[in-house]
């Protein structure tokens, strides 16, 4: 299987503090890769580094093309959608305006945007009911649905997901993970998933990496990682 995202020797900094110390990982075309780790291990930084939101160095290839020198908005235009931690909702805009912004790079094509709106409303019907509502007034779970939907409006090749289950009720979280599986299977969107909930993440992913203080300590098939003693004891708790 060829890789949609190949990362080699990725380092990242916040000011003078180094947060990633040269990590390597891949996301297979149509696959789901999970990045696991404790707080402060560098999971969020990894996603930020991929789409140029922090100072970074190393080789990042999207479908073979180098993107490590590009600005965030250009990486987005190449088809990388990022669902940030905290969801990044445009709180003062309506639900539908948020979704339209997701399709900003092809807003000219009204038919396509309409089609995509219908498509995400099929996944999350509650958003259609609330399309005229101010997005900041949605519940946490609905805002997460909105964030994922906004990312889908881009018709991404690669979806970066930062803690999609964070702060959600278990049922809502389960629903969202179910829909992500559907999106992956039916639309073949590749995903790079950062999760604290290792169990959920390993169920969804085919490949996983375990980060500790900015370094990859364990990597491989999701199945094998699940059986790894370190992971089981520290992150799965049995």
């Amino acid at each position: 299987m060829s890789a949609i995202l190949e990362v080699k020797g990725l380092e990242a900094w916040y000011g003078l503090t180094k947060a990633l110390h040269g990590i390597d990982f891949e996301v297979a075309e149509g696959g789901i890769t999970a990045v696991l780790g404790a707080n402060g291990a560098g999971k969020t930084t990894t996603l930020r580094a991929v789409c140029g939101m922090v100072k970074r160095q190393g080789e990042i290839r999207l479908g073979g093309q180098r993107i490590d020198g590009k600005a965030t908005e250009d990486i987005v235009r190449l088809g990388v959608a990022h669902v940030v931690e905290g969801r990044g909702t445009f709180t003062a805009l309506t639900v539908e305006e948020n979704l339209q912004l997701g399709a900003y790079t092809n807003l000219g094509d009204k038919r396509k945007v309409q089609e995509d709106l219908e498509r995400v409303y099929r996944y999350f019907p509650v958003l259609e009911e609330r399309r005229r509502q101010q997005a900041g007034t949605l519940s946490g779970g609905q805002q997460q649905m909105l964030a994922i939907s906004r990312a889908l409006m881009l018709r991404p090749r690669l979806l970066l997901l930062d803690e999609p289950s964070f702060g959600l009720a278990p049922l809502t979280s389960q629903e969202i993970f179910g829909i992500m599986r559907t999106i992956n299977e039916e639309e073949h969107v590749s995903m790079l998933l950062v999760e604290q909930n290792a169990q959920t993440a390993l169920d969804l992913a085919d490949t996983a990496y375990l980060l500790e203080t900015g370094t990859v300590v364990v990597s491989g098939d999701a199945e094998r990682i699940r059986d790894n003693d370190v992971v089981r004891r520290s992150y799965l708790g049995y």
């Binding site: 789409c51 600005a71 990022h82 940030v84 445009f90 805009l93 305006e97 339209q100 906004r150």
Partner: protein, 293 residues
């Protein structure tokens, strides 16, 4: 009663001009949280450009549109070339840059066009219109009309076009805006361009009344500040409301409060600025910005 109506109408006419300039201030404040102290001088310079075009024999409305286009481009260039390099500088440095811009435009205008006061034409007829005992100047009515039209166009642009939506998104949440592919830096430049164009309208509408000279916008800018603060510096609608209110209050105070007269009118604006900051710092329509620390 007639005097009262007369003053209200002339207050509204002046208010429309304050509203335009206040709107220009709000547009830049909303996207960058900076008050452009040079907004008035930029408007004055635009008005000189219009004057030059009209003086060269170009019909008024063509010169009007050309001035808007030139001002827009000028605003974009100022943002890209002068403001961009100091974007992340401390606020005091920025204030110095804005004051620098103010002085540069003022001196440049004086140098190129001299400090001699020049008449500036109005596109509207000269003979006053009488409604009952109230005499209306067509220019005042026209200025109110032009102001309202510009506001309506801006509202439509921000509300119904995808570029307007992108500009609102960039102002509200720059990080998320970049993550949907919006070129945030260009949106700021665009905001400066639009503000410069709106300011140019204010300049061209006020110049026939107060005449054209490099210092013409000094007083107007203070009224515009008062309008923006009173209406709420975060609210475009508030700025417009503030503009018209300040215009009317200023006209009425000048007529009915004996010691104010026409000399102390500017004091009214300052009282409103201080009063707003003391009693309701967010203004009538402004939103308090709460941020987590």
């Amino acid at each position: 009663m007639d005097v009262f109506l007369q003053q209200v109408v002339s207050g509204l006419a002046a208010g429309g001009i304050y509203a335009s300039l206040a709107l220009a201030l709000v547009m830049i404040y909303q996207s960058t949280e900076h008050i452009n102290l040079a907004q008035g001088e930029m408007a004055m310079f635009s008005t000189y450009i219009a004057w030059t075009l009209i003086d060269a024999g170009i019909p008024y409305w063509i010169a009007f549109v050309a001035t808007l286009v030139i001002s827009f481009i000028g605003g974009v260039l100022i943002e890209r070339l002068i403001i961009r390099p100091v974007e992340n500088a401390p606020v005091l440095s920025l204030v110095i840059v804005f004051i620098g811009l103010l002085v540069i435009f003022n001196s440049l205008a004086g140098w190129i066009f001299t400090y001699t006061i020049k008449p500036f034409p109005s596109p509207f007829p000269e003979s006053p219109i009488s409604v009952g005992n109230v005499v209306l100047s067509p220019h005042s009515l026209g200025a109110i009309g032009v102001t309202l039209l510009i506001l309506l166009l801006l509202f439509g642009f921000f509300r119904y076009t995808s570029l307007g939506l992108a500009m609102r998104a960039a102002a509200q949440n720059p990080v998320s805006a970049r993550l949907v592919g919006i070129r945030v830096a260009w949106m700021l430049a665009l905001g400066w361009g639009l503000a410069a164009a709106v300011g140019a309208v204010a300049g061209m509408m006020v110049a026939p009344v107060i005449f054209l000279d490099p210092n013409m916008m000094g007083g107007v800018l203070i009224y515009a500040f008062a309008a923006a603060l009173f209406g709420g510096i975060t609210s475009p609608g508030g700025a417009v409301f503030g503009g018209f209110t300040i215009g009317v209050v200023e006209a009425l105070a000048g007529t009915y409060v004996p010691f104010i007269g026409s000399e102390l009118k500017l004091l009214v604006a300052l009282v409103i600025i201080v009063g707003t900051l003391l009693i309701k710092p967010t203004g009538v329509f402004g939103k308090a910005v709460v941020s987590r620390v």
